[in-house]
């Protein structure tokens, strides 16, 4: 009888230790976090940039809003760029008075049901990012997640 009680206690403990499911615990995001840095210094320095528009050509009338405004509304040091779940590549244009910068990101979308009471979610992993105009683009973290503070560093 004692072994039966021990066995039931073991089962109860095993069930108790199962992961708690909550839709809000899913931390995947659908945008990459892009930060801007000065290219003309040896010390890594944040650069405040001002673009007239940041947009994806296939998405009409849709401007990216700044994630974190800095000093003035038209300057930013960081922005979020959404990835298209129906594709594996997205190109954004950064419009200025003189030049349109271009940034392309290639990635793998991954669909999953985190918990059956939540909507399915896409998670992304960046494969590469490149630009013909910016001085350089560095991928510092390829996982798009709420806890990741930077995915791409753009030097200009």
């Amino acid at each position: 009888m004692r072994s039966g009680i021990v066995l039931m206690l073991g089962v109860w403990l095993a069930v108790s230790c199962q992961e708690i499911k909550d839709c809000t615990l899913e931390t995947s995001t659908d945008y990459s976090v892009v930060r801007f840095y000065r290219a003309d210094t040896t010390v890594k320095t944040v650069k405040e940039v001002a673009f007239m528009r940041i947009y994806e050509p296939d998405v009409s009338n849709y401007n990216i809003s700044t994630m974190e405004d800095n000093i003035d509304d038209d300057t930013i040091v960081v922005t979020g760029l959404f990835l298209n779940p129906a594709d594996t590549r997205v190109t954004y244009l950064f419009e200025t008075d003189s030049i349109d910068y271009e940034l392309t990101m290639e990635y793998k979308p991954h669909l999953r049901i985190y918990y059956d009471e939540c909507d399915p979610v896409y998670s992304y992993k960046l494969d590469t990012a490149y630009s013909p105009n910016f001085d350089s683009v560095a991928m510092v973290n390829n996982v798009l997640d709420k806890v990741v503070t930077t995915n791409l560093e753009i030097y200009l």
Binding site: E19, V59, A86, L111
Partner: protein, 260 residues
């Protein structure tokens, strides 16, 4: 408001089912324990005026010839198929003994449908096999308290249909599928099985499943893995309750022939 009320009703219905399952499980568990602890069916001990301790008795040679084949049906998926609207399945197990060891083989099917705002369907079959050791030694009735290790494998497919709304790139109708998924894992099992009447056996198995691997995943991760549990959980715990019938192959501990 109506949706919330319906949701609450479904939640209370699900809770009711769970409570009923727990109560039923407890009753079956107790019954099995009681039958397994009956003193009947022990190996005949040598009789005589002088009592000898086990260490003094001559060691009998082990007989690894199978004495019975137990064929069982898992009552848990049967219950789920009868009372659950979104899941159905079946499970069968065959056990054959070799002295105090068993070889167990299991086969089952599982069909799942999930989601209110999306439609996810999963269908497949699974099997597992492996050795078990019986800690109830010298039990002629075939009662067993076993610990085992099994290799499990599943072949299944799934599909998802979902309308993703409010995204930066507009609404998107998502249709995704994995037509040929294969999964494999290992199970540690603890089981109790008891003869309750004639050749009828009742028993349960508790499994702890580890080292889950799934091949041929496309852009969508499966949610269910038949025979294992949820893909999101890297480990799984499962309870099976078996109702089985034993086919005797020979008498396990025949009474010694009377000497003239």
């Amino acid at each position: 408001m109506e949706e919330r009320r319906r949701g609450q009703e479904q939640w209370s219905l699900a809770c009711g089912f769970k409570m009923a399952a727990v109560v039923l499980g407890s009753i079956l568990f107790s019954t099995t324990i009681v039958f397994a602890q009956r003193p009947a069916g022990q190996r005949p001990q040598p009789s005589g005026n002088t009592q000898k301790t086990n260490s003094q008795l001559p060691k009998e040679p082990r007989d690894f010839r199978p004495s019975m084949l137990k064929l069982s049906v898992d009552a848990v998926p049967v219950g789920i198929s009868l009372f659950g609207a979104d899941r159905s399945g079946s499970g069968y197990q065959a056990l054959i003994d070799f002295d105090q060891f068993f070889f167990a083989a299991e086969y089952g099917t599982q069909k799942t449908s999930r989601g209110e705002l999306y439609s996810y369907k999963n269908e497949g079959s699974y099997f597992s096999f492996g050795p078990e050791v019986n800690f109830l030694k010298n039990n002629a009735k075939g009662n067993s308290l076993t610990f085992g290790l099994r290799y499990g494998q599943a072949q299944f497919s799934d599909e998802l249909s979902y309308l993703k709304t409010g995204g930066f790139f507009g609404d998107l109708q998502v249709e995704d599928a994995n037509p040929d998924l294969k999964a494999r894992w290992l199970e540690l099992t603890v089981g109790l099985n008891a003869n309750v009447w004639s050749n009828l056996y009742l028993g349960y198995t508790i499994r702890y499943k580890v080292l889950r691997q799934v091949d041929n995943i496309g852009t969508m991760a499966p949610y269910d893995v038949p025979g294992f549990g949820l893909y999101e959980d890297n480990t799984g715990v499962q309870f099976n309750f078996y109702v089985g019938w034993a086919i005797p192959l020979r008498e396990k501990f025949p009474e010694p022939a009377l000497e003239n």
